[in-house]
Amino acid sequence: MRVTLFSTCLVDLFYTNVGISTVELLEKLGCEVDYPKGQICCGQPAYNSGYKKDSKNAMKQLIKTFDDAEYVVTPSGSCALMLREYGHIFADDEKWADRSKRLSDKTYELTEFIVNVLGIDSIPSTLEGKAVFHTSCHMTRLLGVKEEPKLLLSNVDKLEMKPLANAHNCCGFGGTFSVKMGDISSEMVQEKTRSIKEANVDYVIGADCGCLMNIGGRLKREKETVEVLHIAEVLNREMGV
């Protein structure tokens, strides 16, 4: 199966290892991964700040870039959600309505793609220790991908998943919210890291680099040793390693 990867800017610039793990994982699962170089940011930072007009340039660029793709897969619930919105955003634009809807319809978040399209719910992988899963808001509430990551993690060898108190509460990232409303964001992430510390785990696992950058950035400031991992990195850990 041919899969087109949308890496997202956070992965491209900061979390290259998440991109590498995603590619290796998809290849292991029998996919042929294609990476069109024209891809850029999905436009969400501008769009969610109210700059609808300015964000459309980025969106059109992605629509063109992914025109020929069969499936577009991305290791981010939030960016997947943005691409899913394109169809609505361009609904009244004669020139772009169909093309944008096609992209929305063929875009999948990574775990959603693995479980629902590939039909795989168990991947041979090992991670020894205890972990909590951070349910990111866009992915869980708005994209509606809730059970897929948990199902995949439940089948990782030697990994014990623990509950996270107030898991449903946002970590305070919110894209530009984190720099526009820094003080509020800071209080929110501190409540999140308190819950993580109380869970007494070795790892925090998530499926969105934005949240992980936020939570990880706070844990590092607190000099905590809890390791922050993207789910692609966990699922790509070889069996027995």
């Binding site: 990867l5 290259t16 850029i40 700040s49 109210g50 964000s55 340039n57 003080d183």
Partner: protein
Amino acid sequence: MSIKIKEGKFKERVTDEMKNDFMRKAVSGAQDSLGNRRLLSTDKLGDWESWRTAGNEIRKHTIDNLTHYLTMLSEQISAKGGHVYFAETDEDARNYIKDVVKKKNAKKIVKSKSMVTEEIGLNAALEEIDCEVIETDLGEYILQVDDHDPPSHIVAPALHKKKEQIRDVFIEKLGYDKTEDPGELAKHSRKMLREKFLNAEVGITGCNFAVAETGTICIVTNEGNARMVTTIPKTQITVMGMERLVPSLEDLDIMVSLLTRAAVGQPISSYVTLLNGPKAEEEVDGPEDLHVVIVDNGRSKILGTEFQDILNCIRCGACLNVCPVYRHIGGHSYGSIYPGPVGAVLTPLLDGYDDHKDLPYASTLCGACTDVCPVKIPLHDLLLKHRQEIVEQGGRAPMSEKLLMKAFGFGASSGGLYESGTKIATVSLKMLLRNKETISNGPGMMKEWTNSKEFPTPKTSRFRDWMSKHESEKKHDER
């Protein structure tokens, strides 16, 4: 009091409020316990999602046909002998109510809880004509006694106060001499209020729902105070937002089922009062004279706009109870009588952007509000629409941000610009940062981040550079 309850800048209010540890503990504690109670009560109802859908349909249908149902309601109330007044502005509403009170020569007024009367600043207007206006909802009474402290939650107005504070206020203002025990505090309030009820000449109420087909006013309380307000005084004035109605009693059943569960996790509140006109001849109690004041005050301007869904709101407060931002900043930070997600949407619509343009940004767009809303208002979408309005129509966004976004729009218009831009940025940033793993003290806006968190440094080699190599290795292998 009017919609705007505090002066100053949003961020300054937030800084002040976030220092209030008690308020924050009270809010997060209430969110956690109300959240659990809500889930228990909605689970017991069966398929909550289909109840929400029904609620959404009723509200949407009502608002889509608002003129029709308002006319019907008005005819029904008039037929029963009540008076109906449509107030276009807050001032119109205040003047009408003052006139009614003056004509009765009334000086003693009791009120049950009503957000819309706070929105139109009714109490102050009545006090100006030398009336004594007593709030009889316990939370509102506490706030009134405490020098008119504004409410911080639309259902639990005194959520931000602790019992010790209330005890001290009662000692100072009401001659109270007992402990901070909530039972004793409530008992004292009851004693004080009982006398006010018995002597009141006018009772003023809000309205949870008015039923168009029957002209019924429905008031939902847990304290029974609305029954006292509507049975003892000879004159009753009910004030309602023009959107607060349902077509039929069947619809009311569904809406009340949604309201009490979404608000406080109760299958039904202690009192659900249905009032049908003034006292009839054969009846033993109730007001001789009934006035229903239907307030527009900016609502009709929302009709037909992309914000219309906010008129579906039934003021349950569920969105406040799940909002992770409200959780930390509390109600007073919003500076509006309507706080939380619903307030951040509604306030700029009713009172303009000038004083409230920060409110739509006080959200991570996490969608918790949309998810919990019993009538499915897409609250986070409406917050986003406000942002678009502020940026693209109002021209109120900061210049630095506008330039940044323009540059974003330009840079993102071609893959080539992104390609070269990020390449240069990653290399130069890396050099500047001398290979540190994270940034601890960022410049400009980044400071808002690095004040409390580390920021990662970009990798010298981007993912796409690895991918190019990976793709050529694959091709090589295939050969």
